[in-house]
């Protein structure tokens, strides 16, 4: 039904791994779909559920969070924290009528540009399958102010 629907995805990346992986994917001219707008955090542990909720309420169809592999966090433990937060958030989304699969956590090290590019591609297709979210109570009709706002709270 939604074959010509282009999903809009907000990606939160960690400065130490996945952001560099995305950078590497870019430098190596690896192709990944243009649907994802990346926001750099200092660590996946900086992800606050409110960033994800804000993105969804503001018009994103999916949110991707990427962090260092378990055991490899620059700040030791923070990616486990991200894991627990994302798991709990997904459980909270169901009664809102938001498919928890719209939020995805992926591990990617700084060297895994290829893996990250592939994961982004997979996620875009998964969201395309789910169709647009079109959050009805959205506060901002345009995604760009949302990116700015999310960047603002993300600091």
């Amino acid at each position: 039904m939604t074959k010509d629907f282009e999903p809009l995805i907000i990606g939160f990346t960690c400065n130490w791994c996945s952001y560099r992986a995305a950078d590497m994917a870019g430098t190596a001219r690896l192709k990944y779909p243009p649907n994802v707008r990346l926001i750099r955090l200092m660590c996946s542990g900086r992800i606050d559920p409110s960033f994800i909720l804000k993105a969804l309420a503001g018009g994103a169809d999916g949110v991707l969070i990427t962090g260092c592999h378990p055991g490899e966090c620059h700040y030791l433990e923070q990616n486990y924290k991200a894991l627990r937060r994302v798991k709990l958030l997904k459980r909270t989304l169901a009664p809102f009528g938001i498919n928890p699969d719209r939020v995805k956590l992926v591990w990617a090290s700084a060297a895994e540009g290829v893996k990250l590019a592939r994961e982004i591609g997979v996620f875009v297709e998964e969201i395309r399958e789910l169709g647009p979210l079109n959050w009805p109570a959205r506060s901002t009709p345009e995604i760009n102010p949302v990116v700015e706002e999310v960047e603002e709270v993300a600091g």
Binding site: S50, L53, A57, R84, R85, K87, S139
Partner: protein
């Protein structure tokens, strides 16, 4: 009528508890009477909406508005009282953030009516559902339309001050009344517009006397199923889901002091963007596990995360409603 300033209080989608809380300030209520003319207060005196409509704009000095906006009537009165009042206070958690009635935003209007008018606990053999208008031999009679979502007062009109609590505590109401009287006497100034009044500056945990150590838990437990609660230790550390970490101080940590977890009636503490998000963060930090399966097992102990994290705040959260609700019939 005397030339005393005018006071009004109104209830929209609320339980009546806020009204009781104001009457519950004992002899302080006499100060209200000494300093104000009660212009409109349906719970305390007879008045007609048309009397309010006939008042000059801005002629009421202070209106305490409690309850969320669920019906056309609620909305009409919110707009009317906004016009007639110099100071409009969202009074109590329902007006401020939707409160308990706001939890209905997880359900569509059809689902709500179904529950109210046709589930097993309802005696409604003829399947009567309320109709917004009905033809009678005498003419058309109407009742206010039930709107698709519950909105907070500030989602409908401009609000001057916010006073949370379910209901606001007596000592906080007294302090606010004292302040208003001092302002009338020229001895004090009003807080900046948009301020939250009658709350403390930090979180419920800050007012709580229970001992906090390093929170590390392997299991969530429902308080009614536990009989070995340590009376002095933080409830969250004992695996009881207490939302004190996200809740504004102001009540004196009443519930944890009495042995029950805070359920968040004082609303988000200063700086909290989304109450539920703050609680998700807090809960994720106390879980003592790095193993995905074990984390899931621990999280299974939280029976209704959305209802627990948004018990008072759904209508004012980032998402505001369930997906089907907004356009739902």
């Amino acid at each position: 009528m005397s030339d005393k300033p005018k006071f009004a209080m109104y209830w929209a989608a609320s339980c009546g508890g806020c009204e009781i809380a104001v009457l519950n300030i004992h002899e302080k209520i006499l100060d209200v009477d000494a300093n104000f003319d009660i212009a409109f207060w349906p719970v305390a005196m007879d008045a007609k909406y048309k009397d309010v409509e006939a008042m000059e704009d801005g002629s009421i000095l202070l209106t305490l508005f409690n309850g969320g906006i669920r019906t056309e009537e609620n909305e009409h009165l919110a707009k009317l009282l906004r016009k007639k009042s110099q100071i409009l206070v969202a009074f109590g958690s329902c007006a401020v953030e939707g409160g308990n009635p706001g939890l209905a935003n997880f359900s569509t209007k059809d689902q709500i009516f179904e529950t109210v008018y046709s589930t097993v606990s309802t005696e409604n053999p003829d399947g009567v559902y309320p109709q917004p208008s009905f033809e009678m031999p005498e003419g058309t009679i109407t009742i206010p339309v039930f709107e698709p979502v519950l909105r907070t007062l500030d989602q409908v009109v401009d609000v001057d001050y916010y006073m949370p609590g379910c209901p606001p505590e007596s000592h906080q109401i007294e302090a606010v009344i004292d302040l208003v009287i001092q302002v009338l006497e020229g001895k004090a100034e009003l807080p900046p517009k948009g301020a939250t009044i009658g709350v403390g500056p930090s979180t419920c945990c800050d007012e709580c006397t229970r001992t906090r150590n390093v929170k590390k838990i392997k299991e969530f437990r429902r308080i009614q199923l536990v009989d070995d609660i340590d009376p002095d230790l933080c409830l969250l550390e004992q695996g009881i889901l207490c939302v004190g970490p996200a809740t504004a101080s102001g009540c004196g940590a009443k519930c944890p002091t009495a042995g029950a977890p805070c359920i968040g009636c004082y609303g988000p503490a200063a700086g909290v963007v989304d109450f539920g998000a703050r609680m998700m963060t807090a809960v994720a930090s106390v879980i003592d596990s790095r193993d995905p399966d074990e984390i899931d097992r621990i999280l299974d102990g939280i029976v209704d995360p959305a209802g627990t994290f948004y018990k008072f705040n759904l209508a004012h959260s980032l998402l505001r409603t369930g997906n089907a609700t907004w356009n739902g019939k």
